[in-house]
């Protein structure tokens, strides 16, 4: 990176550290912070969407749809989330390969589950055995994202289901009195008003989502936990020009500080958002704002 880094043995102190922290391996660590942010950026809206439709399904008038929504919400109850994560990653992978197998290799007669093996034809492998490395990584990452979205979608559905019920009944009745249909009342009256009730739960969920990101490591993605373990381990001078002892403790301390700052910043931001959303609402928050202004 820097010019003076060409001879690491002669360095010491801060210059050594600045060279050490800019090696290609460390760049991978910094990129993996980006992976975490990318995961959050994709998962948050997708699970919000899942949650919205889950909650809407749980309130549906069509009975099987309601059962589906309720079952989806109940999925998260009582089961450790890590188990859900570990389960969904394999289950989704197998579901994809199974479907592709059925479509692409109709002539195949052998069973897919042979004892302890899961065998699909070569054309159904996902991603294909010949695919480049980045495809494998992207596929693994998207499986992880989808898993996160399913699990957090169920949490979000739970929050939004509560929020939809918290919208005062009189509001819907008024909408009906104005001649709106069920659908219109839902989209024009309930949905705009539910957010202020959903926000405390959703902001809690956001914090939890941030704190769940290190679990990416368990899903086989090379994330910050992976790199912190890799880079922190003892390095001898045979393998690197920057030998050091076991520094994993310090790397994880760094991660700890990163997460603390991240959650703190989110907290402050969400507080502001709540204040903005409460404006003009028929809640105690909105009422106290009105009084303060008057």
């Amino acid at each position: 990176m820097f010019e003076f880094c060409s001879n690491p043995d002669a360095l010491s102190g801060l210059t050594w550290l600045s060279c050490y922290l800019t090696t290609t391996k460390h760049t991978a660590l910094y990129v993996s912070f980006g992976t975490v942010l990318l995961l959050l950026a994709i998962t948050a809206p997708v699970s919000l969407l899942f949650g919205f439709f889950g909650a809407a399904a749980a309130r549906a008038r069509f009975l099987p749809l309601r059962w589906f929504g309720k079952a989806y919400i109940a999925l998260v109850r009582g089961i450790p989330d890590i188990a859900l994560f570990l389960f969904f990653v394999i289950a989704l992978d197998q579901a994809v390969e199974w479907t592709r197998h059925k479509i692409l290799c109709p002539g195949w007669t052998e069973p897919i589950r042979q004892g302890n093996d899961f065998v699909v034809c070569a054309a159904a492998k996902m991603p294909l055995g010949t695919a480049p490395q980045w495809v494998h990584e992207a596929y693994g990452f998207s499986l992880a994202v989808f898993t996160f979205a399913i699990v957090f979608g169920a949490f979000a559905a739970n929050v939004m289901f509560g929020a939809m019920r918290a919208v005062p009944r009189a509001q819907i009745e008024t909408a009906e009195a104005y001649g709106m249909s069920h659908r219109q009342a839902f989209w024009r009256v309930m949905v705009p008003q539910m957010w202020v009730y959903a926000l405390p739960g959703l902001s809690n969920l956001w914090m939890i989502l941030i704190k769940a990101t290190p679990l990416l490591f368990l899903l086989g993605v090379e994330d910050i936990v992976y790199w912190a373990r890799e880079l922190g381990g003892t390095k001898t001078s045979r393998f690197t020009s920057y030998p050091h002892g076991d520094w994993r403790m310090w790397y994880f301390l760094g991660l700890l500080v990163f997460y603390l700052m991240f959650t703190r910043v989110s907290e402050i931001f969400l507080e502001r958002l709540m204040r903005r959303l409460s404006h003009g609402q028929a809640t105690t928050g909105g009422e106290s704002q009105r009084k303060a202004a008057a």
Binding site: L86, I90, N116, K211, A212, M249, F252, L255
Partner: protein, 268 residues
């Protein structure tokens, strides 16, 4: 091997009693049920001890956070912030490597690098912080009238705290605390995935479930078994805490007693 023999061989496998080798082939349902159930011993061990010890520390922390003196308040606030603001998973890793480094300097720390002590300490500190926040919130929402009535009866200082403030705090905090307890038990599944080694393959329920899923490449059997065990465990916790809840609210008329409403929490 009949199922009864399997239970004899593997029922206490997670503690190192019984068959030394884990099953190698033809994994049957009985083996999966037995081993995953055997691993559950660790989950219960971590959960019960961390919860019991954390309860006392959380009380102290909550009180420290609500005092006016900054010498007590600031450390408590920081402690709670650090443990609630960062992922438990990273805390486990950090704790493990911290103990590992300490072990290099002072050999007395070698038991801390084993899960039974090291992970227990991390869980204890973590649940203390979460519980302290719950108790702190409850302390702040004690009805003003209760305290005024205590004053009118001549209570003050420690007797007032012991007889009026503390029981009311527990009463208010109990539903959230039940949630925290359930959640702590779920969090114990992280232990063996976060650096702490499962020595001689003595792991917890998720460790064995993962073992079977890896070996059979079929997640559809071990994980539902695990889920079944945890749902049962959750129900047991809810009913035990429900009994305490009844005890705490025994002065209220039957109708006025608040049913324990469990609002599920998620990952920490």
């Amino acid at each position: 091997m009949s199922c009864w023999e399997t239970i004899q061989a593997y029922g206490l496998r997670s503690l190192g009693i019984g068959e030394r080798l884990l099953p190698r082939e033809d994994y049957n349902l009985c083996q999966q049920f037995t081993l995953i159930g055997s691993g559950l011993i660790w989950n219960i061990y971590f959960g019960v001890l961390a919860l019991a010890a954390g309860f006392f520390f959380a009380n102290a922390l909550a009180l420290a956070k609500s005092t006016r003196s900054p010498w007590l308040r600031k450390p408590a606030e920081w402690f709670i912030f650090v443990f609630r603001g960062s992922p438990l998973f990273v805390q486990f890793f950090f704790g493990y490597f911290l103990f590992l480094s300490l072990k290099g300097v002072y050999p007395i720390f070698s038991p801390f690098t084993a899960a039974w002590l090291g992970a227990l300490i991390v869980l204890f500190l973590n649940t203390s912080a979460y519980t302290a926040e719950i108790f702190y919130g409850a302390l702040r929402s004690i009805p003003k009238g209760d305290v005024e009535a205590a004053d009118a009866y001549g209570f003050s200082g420690y007797p007032r705290f012991r007889r009026i403030v503390w029981p009311t705090m527990l009463r208010l905090a109990w539903p959230a605390y039940t949630n925290e307890a359930i959640f702590l038990f779920h969090a114990t599944t992280l232990v063996f995935f976060s650096g702490f080694p499962a020595w001689q393959q003595r792991g917890d329920a998720l460790y064995y479930a993962n073992f079977f899923a890896d070996k059979t490449f079929n997640p559809f059997v071990p994980y539902p078994i695990l889920a079944g065990y945890f749902i049962t465990l959750t129900l047991i916790i809810v009913s035990i805490f429900g009994l305490f809840n009844r005890y705490l609210n025994r002065h209220l008329p039957q109708e006025a007693r608040r049913k324990l409403k469990i609002r599920m929490n998620v990952i920490r």
